[in-house]
């Protein structure tokens, strides 16, 4: 019996899809079997971020409408043999989703893998609801700005009202340089304001743009980059390992960017 985790945010453009792909890949690198699911029905993108767009045949709506079996819709990752993508449909809209069917499909998949990671669409409407419904755990992605934290607060409230109680926070696109100049919100303030557990801080990293353009997942393509290290640390924490946030609490001075998160 695996674990089902929804990656969500409320606000768009904060990195949900990138986080989903990289956490999924990091868990797969640790030897876990993982299915990442694109729940953004009508606006799919996880296939593109993973560079699997040319291999998509069926999608989750085809399973829901009984046009194919679950196994026929799963696309294996190019590099990691235990990582699979379940794509979203590009021709349906959120209104076409049958939430009960989705919950049933995810629960079937969950019973045969270690992790199901659901990439939620932006917003708090039906797309979000159907992504959250099958999950018992949630990763909230937030960037250090007022809009994103505000939206995250709303989403956390909604998840709690739906009975998702294991909620952790990922602070994405964190620029320590700007934080030290007091131009950007400090992660401590965000954690304090939102009142949920912090599971990782992902530094702003140009390597992500490069990887995404190539259709490669960062942790597969540039595993030494600061963001890749941070993603792998999040995966370890999900697995229960005690990995300290050392880099961001101690780093000071001009050469902070040379330090590696352990």
């Amino acid at each position: 019996m695996g674990r089902t985790i929804v990656v969500t945010a409320g606000k768009g453009g904060v990195g949900k899809t990138t986080v989903t792909a990289n956490i999924g890949a990091s868990l797969a690198k640790m030897g876990k079997s993982v299915v990442v699911v694109d729940m953004d029905i009508g606006l799919r993108n996880l296939d593109v971020v993973m560079g699997l767009e040319n291999r998509v045949v069926y999608n989750i709506m085809d399973i829901s409408e009984e046009k194919c079996k679950i196994n026929q819709a799963l696309v294996r990752d190019k590099h990691l043999t235990s990582l699979f993508l379940l794509p979203a449909s590009q021709v349906h809209t959120k209104d076409d989703i049958d939430v009960d069917k989705i919950v049933e499909i995810i629960s079937t998949i969950e019973s045969s893998v270690d992790y199901v990671v659901l990439d939620s669409p932006a917003g708090i409407e039906k797309g979000f609801e159907s992504a959250a419904a099958p999950a018992k755990e949630a990763l909230i992605v937030v960037t250090p700005d007022v809009s994103s934290v505000r939206d995250a607060d709303r989403v956390i409230g909604l998840l709690e009202s739906k009975g998702v109680s294991a909620i952790s926070l990922i602070v994405n696109r964190y620029d320590l340089n700007l934080v030290e100049k007091k131009k950007m919100l400090d992660y401590n303030s965000i954690v304090e304001i939102l009142g949920v557990d912090l599971i990782g801080i992902i530094p702003e990293d140009k390597a992500i743009i490069d990887s995404t353009n190539r259709g490669e997942i960062l942790v597969s393509n540039a595993s030494g980059s600061p963001a890749a290290k941070a993603f792998e640390n999040v995966a370890k924490r999900i697995e229960g390992e005690n990995v300290p946030l050392s880099d961001f609490t101690q780093a000071r001075g001009m050469f902070w960017f040379l330090r590696r998160e352990r």
Binding site: V146, D153, E160, K183, M184, I193, G195
Partner: protein
């Protein structure tokens, strides 16, 4: 504070966020909030003489718990006759 007496952007962001969230987290729309206040005054008036103008009613979310706080100055207790 920076050299020119301007507040740091991060502090401004934090203060704005806290104010926004106080509003967002107050779960009742203003009209309903006023009705709640009226209802509380009416019930309490059966038992106490209260100073209606100094009632302070707030709904806040803190550490993901919702707390309703009512501060009601009581002038005297009404006795059954």
């Amino acid at each position: 504070m920076s050299f020119f007496g301007r507040k740091a952007a991060s502090s401004v962001a934090e203060e704005r966020l806290k104010l926004i969230l106080v509003q967002d987290r107050s779960l009742l729309p203003p009209a309903q909030f006023e009705r709640l206040k009226e209802d509380i005054i009416n019930i309490l008036s059966n038992y106490f003489e209260i100073n209606k103008s100094e009632i302070n009613l707030t709904i806040e979310r803190e550490n993901r718990k919702t707390i309703l706080e009512a501060i009601v100055p009581v002038l005297s207790v009404k006795r059954d006759k």
